[in-house]
Subunit: 245 residues, 2 copies
DNA sequence: CGTTGCGTTGAATAAGGTCAAATAGAGTGG
DNA sequence: CCACTCTATTTGACCTTATTCAACGCAACG
């Protein structure tokens, strides 16, 4: 296992939070430029993760958080009997690893779905510095809280929506996240397989495929393998709930 | 709405974290007695919440966390179209309100399922003090992280288990939490209705009822309305996954 | 140009949902 | 204390949805 192989020190690369286009989505969000400079020192190194490789595995010792610099990840939890469940998809600017803080061991596994890069944030140093920089402390707490809220949203989806609603909600969520990162919200490539989508949504891959086909018939989206073009946002939103209004 | 009516200052009641039997489950966990004393000052007041009353509602402004002193709560999120989903049940020692940190507004609602009492922890003061007391900072981060991990566990349940497995997992989870609080793990009263259980588990109340009946036939549990007696823990565990092993 | 993995589609089946009716308690007012 | 209400729960019959199993198509790749 070459799990920790490609680690690059940050300064050698002359790139930092201060100049990172993602800082508005990430940990330095809302900090003064002075403070951001301190956060720069926090981010010790970067790590490349090849498509299909694992950033960390459930059970691994926890030591750092990771900020996604580029690429795309899935997180998954394993049940005792071997079944697994995709619990999220993660893109640039998002923080990974918070599942490990509670027990010092990671509770889920993170796998890259395309060649990716993360910033390594040693957690003890984050705690140390966030105790000094009020804004950093706040932002870190905000991020953890949002993760909780996000998970509750997924619980709502898994607990009370039907297959079509789930898929519609999934596409709209992706769309919005691409938009927030400056990509087209209506035209994008899925990085994950039908099976991974199905696992995330609590349905089978065949059902995902059927729903895609149905949406295509209904001229809501255009699906060509992994490429998605959203044709009717309003129509999709209409499916996720507010049917009658 | 008398939402904030019964607030009692803590010192008047001469009860504090230092003397609280729940401190090993709660925020002061792992602190020195000196530090616990500082946390005592943090907890400004207590609030009683009658059965059926709301601690806070989705959309309410966020200002404090709440430590459950006694009683039983459910948390629920609402979808745009009015459906709701129970996202958790909460008992003594647990911290509520972390969903509000990210946006300054609560994302879910908390309702008492029996007469209950919470300690009010003003969040700005928690941030302030936790910046000074390293152990408190750590414990708070641990608690948030555990909440994330807990939610991932629920996602696994909702995404990949069948009705019987869900109910078995639910009963075992409750059992374990009662045990951790010194109550019988095999003999307890449900505080929630079948409908609330069903909402939490992503199944209908009739299904919950049928599964209970089936478990009873199989001599796994004894169900008398709200009273549960677990007869065969191993059998229940066998249902939640590791069928074949 | 066959192999391999991923995706689509169809038919049969099972799981759980829906609707409806019967029952059981808990609490209330007489 | 008893009859009465109200709500929660149980159970049955039927129906819908999604799963399962299987076959086939397609695209990338050696």
């Amino acid at each position: 296992m070459a799990a920790t192989a490609p680690v690059i020190t940050l300064h050698a690369l002359k790139s930092s939070c201060s100049s990172c286009s993602l800082r508005e989505l990430c940990l330095p969000m809302g900090l003064t430029s002075e403070e951001v400079e301190q956060v720069d020192h926090l981010v010790a190194a970067r790590r490349r993760v090849r498509s299909g490789a694992t950033l960390y595995r459930a059970g691994d010792a926890f030591g750092s958080l990771y900020a996604v610099r580029s690429g795309f990840f899935k997180s998954m939890v394993l049940s005792d009997d071997g079944r697994d469940q995709v619990t999220g998809f993660h893109m640039a600017g998002e923080i990974l690893g918070m599942d490990g803080i509670g027990t010092e061991k990671h509770a889920c596994s993170i796998v890259a779905l395309e060649d990716s890069e993360v910033c390594i944030i040693p957690f003890p140093r984050l705690e140390e510095i966030s105790a000094k920089i009020r804004g950093l402390q706040r932002q870190f707490h905000r991020l953890m809280s949002r993760e909780i809220v996000r998970d509750q949203g997924v619980m709502l989806l898994l607990g009370s929506m039907r297959a079509e609603e789930r898929v519609a909600a999934f596409l709209l969520n992706l769309s919005q996240r691409f938009l927030a990162r400056g990509y087209s919200p209506s035209d994008f490539n899925l990085r994950m397989t039908r099976e991974e989508i199905g696992s995330y949504l609590g349905i089978k891959l065949e059902t995902v495929s059927r729903v895609f086909s149905k949406f295509q018939e209904g001229r809501l989206v255009e699906v060509k393998q992994k490429h998605i073009r959203i044709l009717d946002v309003v129509g999709l939103k209409g499916l996720t709930g507010k049917e009658a209004c």
